[in-house]
């Protein structure tokens, strides 16, 4: 897999490049800001671009802006945004429009390279990846517990993985369930939470996150 890395910290981007190279990931280039990254993506067409959310000049949300530009100009390139914020608002902004091939992880995930490599694979495969800690925080919110009371414990497990962006198959593998069982669970969950079923399959992570963030 070919990746491009953008981070304004030399320590992080060089270190990340080495760790990924160690895992036989083909790092095609490093960028220090959004402008450099776009040029790099244009030249190298990597499978996934890894972007720090805070970069010069304002150090606020340049990573999200860059992600949108990449999606617009190079629809085949996946984007993984690394962030230090567990606020759902950022993740929802990233998923706005189309959630395929997009990921939002806490930056400290890069210190667990197995998880990072797994996320890159999923994004490359067109899945959506959302930071598990963010989902945990959303589900732990006491204000939500009333609304989730209708779900069975199993359904809650499925909901968490659904929100993390896993496919039905991915959920099945994690929970040792058949795909058809997962599909049934998902349908029930969406019905109970009064969320649209079926049609907008590629928007379901966004729908669930919006619901949980409400």
């Amino acid at each position: 897999m070919r990746v491009a890395i953008a981070d304004d910290s030399v320590i992080v981007r060089e270190g990340l490049a080495r760790v990924l190279a160690d895992r036989d990931v083909d790092v095609r280039g490093l960028a220090a800001d959004a402008g450099q990254l776009l040029a790099l993506v244009d030249a190298e067409r990597p499978d996934v671009a890894i972007v720090d959310i805070r970069m010069p000049p304002t150090h606020t949300d340049e990573g999200l802006v860059a992600a949108d530009l990449i999606r617009e100009r190079f629809p085949d390139v996946g984007v993984l945004v690394l962030s230090q914020y567990t606020d759902a608002a950022y993740a929802l902004r990233l998923l706005d429009g189309d959630e395929k091939g997009r990921g939002y992880l806490l930056k400290e995930r890069i210190t667990a390279v197995d998880e990072l490599a797994d996320a890159l694979e999923r994004i490359h495969a067109g899945e959506c990846v959302i930071e598990p800690e963010l989902i945990r925080a959303l589900l732990a919110n006491p204000a939500r517990s009333d609304r989730l009371a209708a779900l069975t414990p199993r359904e809650r497990d499925v909901l968490a993985l659904l929100a993390e962006g896993l496919t039905d198959r991915g959920i099945g593998e994690r929970l040792w369930l058949s795909q058809s069982t997962v599909e049934t669970h998902v349908r029930h969950i969406l019905q109970k939470l009064d969320l649209p079923t079926g049609a907008a399959h590629n928007r379901r992570v966004h729908a669930v996150l919006t619901y949980l963030d409400r």
Partner: protein, 569 residues
Amino acid sequence: MTSLSWKVGAAVAFAVGATDVVLSAYQGVTLSDLVVGTAVNAVTISAGLVVWASRPASRMGVLITVWGICGFLADTVGLLPDSRLGATVGLPLVLLPSAVYAHMVLAYPTGRLVDRVDRAAVGVIYAAALLWSLPLLVGSNPSGCTDCVPGVPSLLFIGQIGPLRTIGQGFSALFIMLGAAFVCLVVRRIRRASPGVRRTLWPLALAAVFGGAQFIARSAANLFGFASWQETLLWLDRASGVAVPIALAIGVLTTRRARGPVGNLVVELGNVEPGGVRDALARTLGDPTLELALWLPDRGTWVDERGREIAVTETPTRAVTLIGHELAAIVHDPDLADQQALLEAAGSAARLALENERLHAELRAQLDELRASRARIVRAGDDERRRLERDLHDGAQQRLLGVGLALQLVRARVPDGEAAELVAEAEQELREALRELRDLARGIHPAVLVDQGLGSAIKTLAKRSPIPVGVSADGERLPSHVETAAYFVVAEALANIAHHADAGHVDITVRRENGSAIVEIRDDGRGGADATGSGLQGLADRVRSLDGRFSVHSPPGSGTCVTAEIPCG
């Protein structure tokens, strides 16, 4: 007004009246003409003398007196037994009273012509009033002319002049124009006058417009030869002559009424509230536009009664009167300047109150400064928090991540066993450290507040709260200092509720009302919160530093409602 001036005025009136009576006996003038003419001149001269004596600073008295004397001379010379000298002196005097009248009206109430246009107009009027008689004095119409001006038996007579009639018509036309210009100037004065002046000006202006109109009518009658109107117009002339002293009297009386006695000021100042001295002075001096300036020696500046810095400069439309030594100044209508005695009396009466007022103004100025510096300190604190948060992110966090990445490389090169376990332990520790660092940075200054706004930031706070929280906030962005203050109000209130309130539910609303952001945090806990506790007190200080309002409503047993209202301006 001294009793002497009254006596002089009465004596002159008597003398003038007596002269007229004697002279009219020679001429067989009708009684009505005599009474009216005498009354007008006598009253005018004595009124002029009285004003002159009582207000020497104003030139008004001189002008009124001169006007009356001119009128008297013009009438009297006309009554002299026919003689070439009488005609030579008398004819140029006929229109002089009208010119002095115009001068006087336009110069009222100071007696000085301030405006350049007024001055030019008065100059032209004098010139016209004196020159019109010259052709009549030096020549006469050719004989045999029926409706011509009769020849005047003057000392300057030279002979017959052909176009004499045309010249007379030209002057009549000029008088119509000058009359119209005079009326326009009077109207312009009224329109431009300050409210205080206007109140004293309008009776005279009314009389002057009437006088101007009848002058125009008289000139028109001369020009077009409406001889039958002459009698009516003569009476109108006299009426307008009488109208002026009446108008002046009304003006003086209303001025008196508008300007209460200084004694009232003393009484009023005894009960005046801080900041009310200006109003009391404005009432006493009859100038609603009056401004009060107080001198603050420590700062070397003038301030108003609210402690705001103001400029004290004399302009053509504003006069300045200083009170006391480096104490205060009144900026007022220049019309008041000729009432120096009243100003000084009012100033000394107000002295003690002004000392007091100055202390208040000084206090207010200091308070404003204090408030501004408090706001600056809070903002500087917020900026510092933001910088600290960024430093944590750019410095420590990146280095720890670098260590984490290095550990990844180490683990890939260490065979399974004790060493690998130790590396895994280190990784775990490191992730904990990173998480704590992240929470610390968020506590110092939440980036989501800057990036996504107050609504998102409060939602995140709500999600972290152990008690269910309902949030109602629209996505509208507010000024950053308002968002920061509102955020910390919510954060602190939620922390308080979690620790003390024993609540089952919290509702947070953020709304915008009348240019302010209103944040309300309401819980259903046990109430009885101590609003003077350090947490709530800190919030109150923060909100008030932005000129906002902060309140805690917490009756025992019925929950607590914390409300902050922060102006967004």
